[in-house]
């Protein structure tokens, strides 16, 4: 079986996988990072979104061996081991942008990628961007609010850092 190694949430990891092993399986089953979820089998729902080399990727649509040598961030890597949430996580909490929590990791990872590329997205741009993330609980109203607030908070954090 091929071996893969990559940096996940800042740590160097490696393992042997079947060639057909998906990145999401490697993350959940080999690394036991179960925050990344599987909600469908047609790459539609977006519950499995992670960042690979800085861009959002549906980890069910990528083989683990394709991510060999990459830098991967999962939902567990955003806040690290501390209690301080990423501004986007905090915005979802403040705006009740989650209910059952199952789509949430993918939503948050997807939202951060949107804001990294478009620091102040309009409501229309947010709704358009979320085409690949399905939520059954919230009706998206509060997710859109969360992302708008999260974008503003990320901008504030960036400004403060500069």
């Amino acid at each position: 079986m091929p071996s893969v190694s990559m940096t996940v949430n800042g740590k160097q990891v490696s393992g042997t996988v079947e060639p057909r092993t998906l990145l999401v399986q490697f993350i959940r089953e080999n690394l036991h990072l179960t925050g990344t979820h599987v909600g469908c089998d047609t790459s539609q729902c977006g519950a499995c979104v992670v960042h690979v080399d800085g861009a959002s990727v549906k980890s069910c649509a990528m083989l683990a061996i394709e991510a060999d040598g990459s830098t991967v961030t999962t939902i567990e890597g955003l806040a690290g081991d501390g209690d301080v949430l990423h501004p986007m996580q905090e915005a979802f909490r403040d705006n009740h942008g989650l209910q059952c929590g199952f789509c949430t990791p993918g939503m948050v990872m997807s939202a951060i990628d949107l804001v990294n590329n478009n620091p102040a997205p309009s409501e229309h741009e947010i709704r358009d961007w979320l085409e690949g993330n399905i939520c059954r609980c919230t009706g998206y109203h509060n997710i859109v609010k969360s992302i708008t607030a999260g974008a503003a908070a990320m901008k504030g954090q960036k400004a403060a850092a500069e």
Partner: protein, 791 residues
């Protein structure tokens, strides 16, 4: 109002773990030495199984065991509610096997289970199982299923595919009203079959402890105690003390995770055989083929009115598709959760309802958000709007003319329910204000300039939830009680754990219930923990569905808290050397009236567990209380939903440009959470009205079996919502709460379709079925604009 008590929009306690990827869903759990199961499912809608050859699969790499229905001879998966026919005879209730016994009855029916060291090995080995099927003709539509000569899903066990032919009311009495009627308005409707589609696919882990003989099932359930009861007592014959059912974090349910599913029994039973833990997780394709579906009614209704538009009588005839087997709540959904709701918010004096429940070669149907009440509301609110058009009346005026007045409560309907409270004028008025109803004509004219057809639709609805008074439902055929239990454990340092039989799968109980405790005991939220979802930790529970968690589960907590305060007051009286009658408890402090004596809750808790100075002759040490609460009546949320749409006549595309919901959900504990629940319900209601439909072809193949084919609402399909509450208090529970989980999905579909039809009215389109897709709307526009065909 305290910052953490009743009425505060407290941020949710559960969010931190969900936002940081530290939730604990069933598929996140792994047991040492765990194996994996793959369920081989029927590719045919209806077939005899002439033989199954599992030899090759059994010898495949990594395979631990393969079992078929021949191996798994266990009890029938039970239905939770018996419904009688018109003539008083019991319904037909065919055997419901966990693994097929000689016949498969829908695509996705369980045929065999392969257990292997890895999931891939189990799935690969399943390919090697040879099943010799003799295909039979299939039927998926309920009307076709009761036509003469239709294929029989259960052969002699359900002649004519009939589960029951049930009625409510006196048909002759209602017919008499129709004779005196100035107008009769009729409608034929289909309430489209839906797939609930909780985002977490179902999963189950079975485990058997050789040392103790105990079984454990981890499962994606809304009601672990109910699963323990149904699976333990009926399917596997395991007593409660040898069976633990855990429903950890569950990623949405919407009714589809009430049902005791075959896979739960399969992994539990098989774990006892292979003596190792077995994990099964559904792929989404399997979810479509095996999760209970919702709705699927075909109805005809007639409304009799006097010359002024006052309703005189209503007759409703409904065919309800049960699917191939009876799920847990399937039978009560189109009867006691549907027919009893057909008075709606109106004073209609005479109502007759006939419901035929019918077996077909489709996935079993069960409760889905609203369960029966959306079907009743859709029928009634379409019919009322149609009546307004037919009589040339205003669609608001006809409703107001027939509203049950605010001073008429308690109000006895002709269809068994007694409404305790409500104010339909108030929710209507507020919704009309918020939606700027009166200025609609200007908006319509402006839209017309842009080539768009603008329409407005309304629904004034009511539902019955807070399920349910046990004695009432028992007399109607429920095979269990529908009370709830709670345990309040005060720890020595004054922190509190609540053990509730309700189950949270997105509703935010850990926050709302903690607010009840914070309000009652005056302690901060961080000192309160809400525990749920484990039959070994929680005394008993009936779970979460029918918007019952707060109105029934919350009341049980309040009752147990009351007992804690009573006992704590006695301890405080002892400490303050006062009479208990003089002790007051407020904001976490016990005081004695007219003195400066004071002792805080934490001190009392410590005294209860370190009883050195304690009234031992009258009180036991410790501070922990149980309560069971059985409601006196259902609760009756209601309200008004108003939808405004713009349709592009060139493409048939509908855009929702306004969605206003004003709901009376009783007292609101956490407005943020309540609004979120309403948003979610609205999204599912709009999904049903415009996007979602579960479709079978004539051979019984599911043609909408993935997210590529089944149109789940996406963010860009939905508007921002204007959702708020305008409440009257429930008259028969201490909190005055009614329930908010389902209202959004109940009130909204007719508001959306009435808006679509209002927009299309000028083109001559008078009917459209759900989901009103662009294709359907475009075709309706084309058909209406064609000159009538030459005779």
């Amino acid at each position: 109002m305290s910052a953490t008590g009743i009425g505060a929009s407290v941020k949710r306690k559960e969010d931190f773990r969900f936002l940081t990827g530290r939730g604990n869903y069933t598929d996140d759990i792994n047991q040492p030495n765990q194996t994996y199961a793959y369920i081989l499912r029927s590719p045919h809608a209806h077939a005899k199984i002439k033989g199954i050859d599992t030899a090759a699969a059994k010898s495949a790499s990594g395979v631990v065991a393969v079992f078929t229905g021949e191996d798994m001879q266990v009890g029938s998966i039970p239905c939770g509610w018996g419904v009688n026919n018109k003539d008083g005879s019991p319904m037909n209730e065919p055997f419901h096997p966990a693994l097929a016994q000689g016949k498969v009855r829908h695509v996705g029916d369980q045929v065999a289970v392969v257990i292997a060291e890895t999931y891939s090995q189990a799935k690969d080995a399943a390919e090697l199982i040879e099943v010799d099927y003799e295909e039979l003709p299939a039927v998926t539509n309920s009307e076709k299923a009761i036509a003469p000569g239709a294929p029989l899903v259960h052969d002699d066990a359900a002649p004519n595919n009939m589960c029951y032919d049930w009625e409510l009311g006196d048909e002759a009495e209602v017919d008499a009203e129709f004779k005196n009627a100035a107008h009769v308005v009729s409608i034929d409707l289909t309430n489209n079959r839906l797939v609930p589609n909780a985002m977490e696919p179902r999963a189950a882990i079975g485990d058997y402890n050789k040392g103790t003989g105990e079984y454990t099932l981890y499962t994606t359930s809304q009601n672990p105690h109910v699963i323990r009861l149904l699976m333990g007592a009926f399917v596997l014959q395991l007593p409660e003390h040898k069976l633990r059912v855990v429903a950890p974090d569950v990623g949405g349910g919407f009714g589809s995770k009430i049902y005791h599913y075959a896979e739960e029994a399969i992994v539990t039973w098989a774990a006892g055989k292979v003596r190792r833990p077995i994990k099964w997780t559904a792929e989404r394709s399997e979810s479509f083929l095996s999760d209970a579906h919702g709705r699927d009614h075909i109805s005809h209704a007639d409304l009799a009115l006097d010359k002024d538009g006052k309703f005189l009588g209503l007759k409703v005839y409904t065919k309800a598709n049960m699917g191939a087997y009876l799920s847990t709540f399937s039978t009560c959904v189109p009867t006691y959760l549907y027919a009893t709701l057909l008075a709606g918010v109106y004073t209609t004096p005479k109502i007759y309802v006939n419901v035929k429940a019918i077996f077909t070669n489709t996935v079993p149907v069960d409760a889905y958000r609203g369960a029966g009440r959306p079907e009743a509301t859709y029928l009634l609110e379409r019919l009322v709007t149609k009546a307004a058009k037919q009589l040339g009346m205003d669609q608001v005026a006809i409703r107001q003319k027939n509203f049950i007045p605010a001073d008429a409560f308690p109000y006895q309907t002709p269809v068994a329910l007694q409404y305790d409270s409500g104010n339909y004028e108030a929710t209507l008025k507020k919704a009309m204000e918020l939606s700027k109803w009166d200025e609609f004509p200007q908006r319509k004219a402006e839209a017309a300039k842009r080539g768009k057809l603008r329409g407005i639709g309304i629904s004034t609805y009511l539902e019955a939830c807070g399920i349910a008074p046990s004695a009432v439902v028992g007399s109607l055929g429920a095979r269990a009680g529908l009370f709830e239990s709670a345990n309040v454990r005060v720890h020595p340092t004054g922190s509190v754990s609540i053990y509730t039989g309700s189950h949270s799968h997105g509703q935010g109980h850990e926050t709302t219930f903690a607010q009840l405790v914070s309000e009652t005991l005056g302690i901060p939220l961080e000192n309160i923990n809400i525990e749920h979802g484990d039959t070994n930790r929680i005394a008993f529970g009936m779970g979460t569905y029918g918007s019952r968690s707060l109105a029934v589960g919350g009341e049980a907590i309040m009752k147990a808290l009351g007992k804690v305060v009573d006992k704590a007051s006695k301890i405080a009286a002892h400490l303050m050397e006062a009479s208990v009658e003089d002790v007051e408890f407020k904001d976490g402090k016990f005081t004695v009236a007219g003195t400066d004596k004071e002792v805080d809750f934490g001190t009392v808790a410590l005294t209860a567990y370190v009883p050195h100075n304690y009234p031992h002759e009258t009180l036991e040490p410790g501070l922990e209380e149980n309560a069971f609460y059985d409601p006196m009546n259902f609760t009756y949320p209601g309200g008004c939903h108003i939808c405004e749409v713009e349709i592009d006549p060139d493409t048939g595309t509908t855009q929702i440009v306004g969605m206003t919901a004003v709901d009376d959900v009783g007292r609101v504990i956490n407005p943020m959470i309540v609004e979120g629940q309403i948003h979610g319900g609205l999204a599912q209601g709009i999904g049903q009205a415009l996007l979602e439909s579960c479709e079978y072809d004539d051979s019984g193949q599911l043609t909408s079996g993935s997210y590529m084919d089944y149109c789940m609402p996406r963010a860009d399909n939905l508007p921002n919502f204007m959702a708020t509450t305008e409440s009257t208090l429930c008259a028969h529970n201490s909190l005055g709460v009614k329930g908010c989980g389902e209202v959004g999905a109940i009130g909204s579909p007719p508001a959306v379709i009435n808006a679509v039809l209002d927009a299309l009215h000028e083109l001559g389109v008078e009917d459209i079925s759900m989901p009103a897709t662009p294709q359907k709307i475009w075709q309706a526009i084309q058909a209406a604009s064609m000159p009538a065909a030459a005779e």
